[in-house]
């Protein structure tokens, strides 16, 4: 079954801005799906339409076969959403933020209390339950929104930048938590600016740019297809300029380091051989950035416009 099915989705705002230009997207039940794109690409508009905070201009949206035009409440009952911006009542106690949300979803009070305790404990917020939510730190506020989104145990959890502004330790514990939720059967759609997050968590990915999907495929296939990594090599020798290495794009970073791009048909051994042949010794090396980030930047820069069939968009080095 499709957790989310979108076809021909368009949105033109009152100021004339066309945010979505015909989006087709399907997310399978149980999937961990990344929806990526630069700021203003249309990710949050899609989420807004799915969660009924934004009215669509055209197109069809179904959540677990509930068409939002025919049974919006049925669709809403399946969704839990963690928005980009903090949107709980900052004057409410932490526990009440979760309990009220459970109430809006029709969860009886006793069950709501049980679940609130379960999720607040799992997200390390139980000790803060009696405090006003505005007194929480940024990371705690994000975790509170996750607890709130889970209290009605949705079949589809939409996370819009859930770890924005959160330190790396908490971010990683949130990843573990979200991964466990997905393993228990909840479909997850994640938008994030931390591409390593998407690469590490998600099985499928769609990249959206200027209101259109430019890539839509399995994460592994996307990474393999567009594999092009940039490595920084630290050299023992001092260099004045970047050496010419046949078949590779080489840039000088400073007098002791080089930046070398390695494409899908190339490998590191070839680089080491060529460096040795030039009398250069690689003392150490590291990735300049993660693979998805590199791919993402290239796609966005190339302004690919092919519809996402997994073959259309091609990153041009």
């Amino acid at each position: 079954m499709k957790a989310l099915s979108i076809s021909g989705l368009q949105k033109t705002y009152a100021n004339g801005v066309q945010a979505l230009k015909g989006i087709d997207l399907e997310v399978e039940e149980g999937d961990f799906f990344a929806l990526l794109g630069p700021n203003g690409a249309g990710k949050t508009t899609i989420i807004g339409i799915v969660t009924s905070l934004v009215n669509k201009t055209a197109g069809k949206v179904s959540v677990f076969d509930y068409d939002i035009d025919e049974d919006l409440d049925g669709a809403k009952a399946c969704i839990g959403v963690v928005p980009q911006e903090i949107n709980f009542n900052q004057f409410e106690k932490v526990s009440n933020v979760v309990l009220n949300q459970a109430g809006y979803y029709g969860i009886p009070r006793a069950l709501a209390r049980e679940r609130a305790e379960k999720y607040l404990r799992q997200l390390q917020l139980w000790d803060k339950r009696e405090e006003l939510s505005r007194t929480l730190s940024g990371g705690m506020k994000r975790r509170l929104m996750i607890a709130r989104a889970l209290v009605h145990e949705p079949r589809l959890l939409i996370l819009d930048e859930p770890t924005a502004g959160v330190d790396i330790e908490i971010r990683r514990s949130m990843w573990d938590f979200i991964r466990r939720i997905n393993e228990q059967g909840t479909t997850i759609i994640l938008t994030t600016h931390y591409l390593e997050e998407a690469e590490s968590l998600c099985r499928n990915v769609a990249i959206i740019d200027q209101g259109k999907i430019v890539v839509n495929d399995r994460m592994s296939r996307v990474l393999r297809k567009f594999q092009l990594e940039t490595f920084i090599f630290n050299l023992a020798e001092e260099i004045d300029e970047a050496p010419v290495i046949d078949g590779f794009v080489v840039r000088q970073v400073d007098e002791h380091s080089l930046e070398i791009e390695i494409g899908p048909e190339q490998n590191l051994n070839q680089v080491f051989e060529k460096l040795s042949a030039l009398g250069l010794t690689a003392c150490s090396m590291r990735n300049k950035s993660n693979r998805l980030e590199e791919l993402f930047m290239r796609l966005v820069e190339s302004k690919g416009t092919h519809q996402g069939d997994g073959t259309g968009a091609r990153a041009e080095p």
Partner: protein, 257 residues
């Protein structure tokens, strides 16, 4: 099954509104009580003694129903407009909008909040009034039903104001420039029989006149207008304002993009 879940949602909004009113009682319950005490002391006691009788009652007795009604109107309106606009401003309205709670229940829940505050303030002002004058309720059911229905009317009006409001100025404009003048000119402090014929007819275009007089009829047994008209107008406003609120929620005006 779905209705049962929706009723839990409605109950949640009502309970949340109740807790809000009680939590900020210094803003919701205390100020109207102090203001009305001053009205009773200045207009009722000090000036009222020189005015003498109106419609056969001491001036203090005459204005007491009007002052109770005035506080019910302003507080019902104020509660919904501030609560709903506050939710819009703080974006936590989205908690309700993404949930499967029907629009009608979101409206009814907030109206219930307005009703609660209106009635609580109404009771407080009535108790204060009893320190200054005697009120022998003549028609209990008229008194209770009129105050109840009027509170609903102004809670709905406050809801619509909050939907349209874009900033805090927008939630102050209607109470300052529409609600207060209409209330003051709605027979709270005088009987319209004191006015020249032309102004009597003009006053009859003011819906608050009917609400204040119907309530006064319930307590004192006198009114400037037929009570049936008051019920008709109040009911008409409830149907109209509820329909408008529902339409606004459905189209998402001022709430959804």
């Amino acid at each position: 099954m779905r209705l049962k879940a929706e009723l839990i949602g409605l109950q949640t909004i009502i309970y949340r509104e109740y807790k809000r009113i009680i939590r900020i009682w210094m803003q919701t319950l205390l100020p109207p009580s102090i203001t009305m005490s001053l009205y009773f002391i200045i207009f009722g006691n000090l000036i009222g003694k020189r005015i003498g009788q109106m419609d056969g009652f001491d001036y203090m007795q005459f204005i007491a129903p009007g002052l109770i009604m005035m506080s019910v109107i302003t507080n019902s309106y104020g509660n919904v407009v501030s609560s709903f606009f506050g939710a819009k401003f703080g974006k936590h309205i989205e908690e309700m909008l993404v949930s499967p709670l029907p629009n009608s229940f979101i409206i009814i829940g907030h109206v219930a909040g307005g009703l609660m505050r209106g009635l609580l303030v109404g009771i407080a002002v009535t108790i204060i009034a009893l320190f200054f004058t005697r009120l022998d309720v003549q028609h209990v059911w008229v008194t209770v039903s009129v105050v109840f229905l009027t509170s609903i009317v102004f809670s709905l009006a406050g809801f619509i104001n909050a939907v349209f409001a874009r900033d805090f100025d927008d939630i102050a404009i209607i109470p300052t420039f529409v609600l207060t003048p209409l209330t003051y000119l709605g027979g709270v402090f005088y009987s319209i029989s004191l006015l020249p014929e032309f102004w009597q007819q003009v006053s009859k275009a003011n819906p608050i006149l009917y609400m204040v007089n119907a309530f006064r009829y319930g307590i004192l047994g006198v009114s400037d207008i037929p009570i049936a008209w008051a019920y008709l107008i109040i009911s008409g406003f409830i149907v109209l304002l509820f329909s408008v609120s529902l339409y606004l929620m459905k189209t998402g005006r001022g709430i959804r993009e």
